[in-house]
């Protein structure tokens, strides 16, 4: 944490509302403190932000560029707009891209009703995807004794990668491949069940926004995520 920034007090406007914040806070955290909701997918409280999903993009007055609210620090006099028609349009199209990328079949998914991707579609009023679905043929890794990894439902938010490296300290998960071929993998792309680094702590399961990682034995709609990770991260921050 940057101590000089943390000691600065800045004032800014988010959607016209005057906000006060510490200089080391992100636009997202200040917005949420002030009751302004900015939709997010890859962000997870307690994990490092990476700005990958682009759902939380906001406009900042005076800049033609858009900024990821999760990973942009507030500055003095900033005027942020979080929900313009342009942003809504972009968010929706990004969501469409995500749905078209892999095989999201909500009806038979263990996370049906508890899925952040599905909830985001509802929130943003997405009723159909205008882009053709790609229907890639992807693997399901059920070699772990307790969990399953299903690439069909992965949105590459990298929460599993981060929680495993940052909170559990095991770094079992990582990303391999590039572009549309990118995949979340365990160890050096070995079956999860054969992983020697995995502690089976289940943190990745519970931060996964969809059901790309889920517990064995769950049927459609039964996989409910618990949110103990943020709490764990917050407690650690206090002791640090």
């Amino acid at each position: 944490m940057n101590s000089t920034l943390a000691s600065q007090i800045v004032t800014l406007k988010i959607d016209g509302k005057d906000c006060g914040a510490r200089g080391d806070e992100t636009i997202l955290s200040v917005a949420r403190e002030n009751g302004i909701d900015i939709p997010t997918l890859c962000h997870y409280d307690g994990l490092t932000d990476i700005g990958a999903c682009r759902i939380c993009l906001v406009e900042v007055k005076g800049s033609p560029k858009l900024f990821a609210a999760c990973s942009t620090l507030v500055t003095e006099g900033m005027e942020v707009s979080t929900n313009s028609p342009r942003l809504q349009r972009y968010r929706k199209t990004i969501l469409e891209l995500l749905f078209s990328e892999r095989n999201h079949v909500c009806a038979v998914c263990v996370s049906n009703g508890h899925c952040e991707l599905q909830a985001m579609a509802m929130k943003l009023g997405l009723t159909h995807v205008r882009l053709p679905y790609r229907y890639p043929n992807l693997k399901v890794d059920a070699t772990h004794t307790r969990y399953v990894q299903d690439d069909n439902r992965c949105i590459l938010c990298q929460r599993c990668v981060r929680v495993c490296a940052e909170i559990e300290g095991a770094h079992v998960w990582d990303i391999m491949g590039r572009g549309i071929e990118a995949r979340a993998i365990t160890d050096l792309n070995e079956p999860w069940g054969a992983s020697t680094s995995c502690t089976s702590c289940g943190k990745c399961v519970h931060v996964c926004p969809t059901a790309a990682i889920f517990e064995k034995g769950k049927s459609a709609g039964e996989m409910v995520k618990r949110s103990f990770v943020s709490e764990l991260a917050a407690k650690r921050e206090v002791y640090e």
Binding site: V105, A121, G125, R130, P132, Y135, N137
Partner: protein
């Protein structure tokens, strides 16, 4: 006032959306008073009629027949409603898209069959290489997601359309509901 001409169509789906449509309890009486069902799996009508006001389509487009039907429907329908996830996303039927058609047919009719192991070829529509959402084939006016969409959503949607209003679909349903 003349009754609205309504059609429902069942393509590649499980008929669950039609079940949901019929599952609206006493409201079906209100609905029935407003509409004339001109074409539906529940109505014995062989040919898709002309001048249909609203057509609810369940199921994805999987075969050449589905595509043929959709084109006729579009030509003769004012408002086309994609009813349920199969029509909108491909849903479960589209789970075959990762494989070749021959592989699937072989799996279903030969490998997993006990009697008469043969792939049916005569008198059945030919499967397309991919099962697709119907809006990839024809223009769709209203999307009602859900697996199946709750009957309340269907009722409200039809009622709103008949009243000339834009139905608020997102409020009561979602993908996979």
């Amino acid at each position: 006032m003349s009754k609205a001409r309504i059609a429902t169509v069942w393509l590649d789906g499980c008929s669950g959306c039609h079940m949901s449509l019929l599952d609206m309890d006493e409201k079906i009486i209100t609905l029935a008073s407003l509409i004339e069902m001109v074409y539906s799996p529940t109505v014995d009508m062989k040919q898709y009629p002309q001048n249909v006001d609203v057509c609810l389509i369940e199921g994805a487009a999987s075969s050449d027949e589905d595509i043929h039907k959709l084109k006729i429907i579009r030509l003769n329908t004012k408002c086309l409603v994609a009813l349920g996830d199969c029509a909108i996303t491909g849903n479960v039927p589209s789970m075959r898209n990762m494989y070749k058609v021959e592989e699937i047919l072989n799996r279903a009719y030969v490998e997993n069959a006990v009697l008469q192991q043969q792939i049916p070829r005569i008198g059945v529509p030919v499967l397309q290489t991919r099962c697709r959402p119907i809006h990839e084939i024809v223009k769709v006016d209203v999307f009602v997601p859900g697996c199946p969409p709750p009957s309340e959503t269907i009722y409200n949607c039809v009622a709103d359309l008949l009243a000339g209003k834009t139905p608020d679909i997102g409020a009561t349903t979602r993908f996979g509901k």
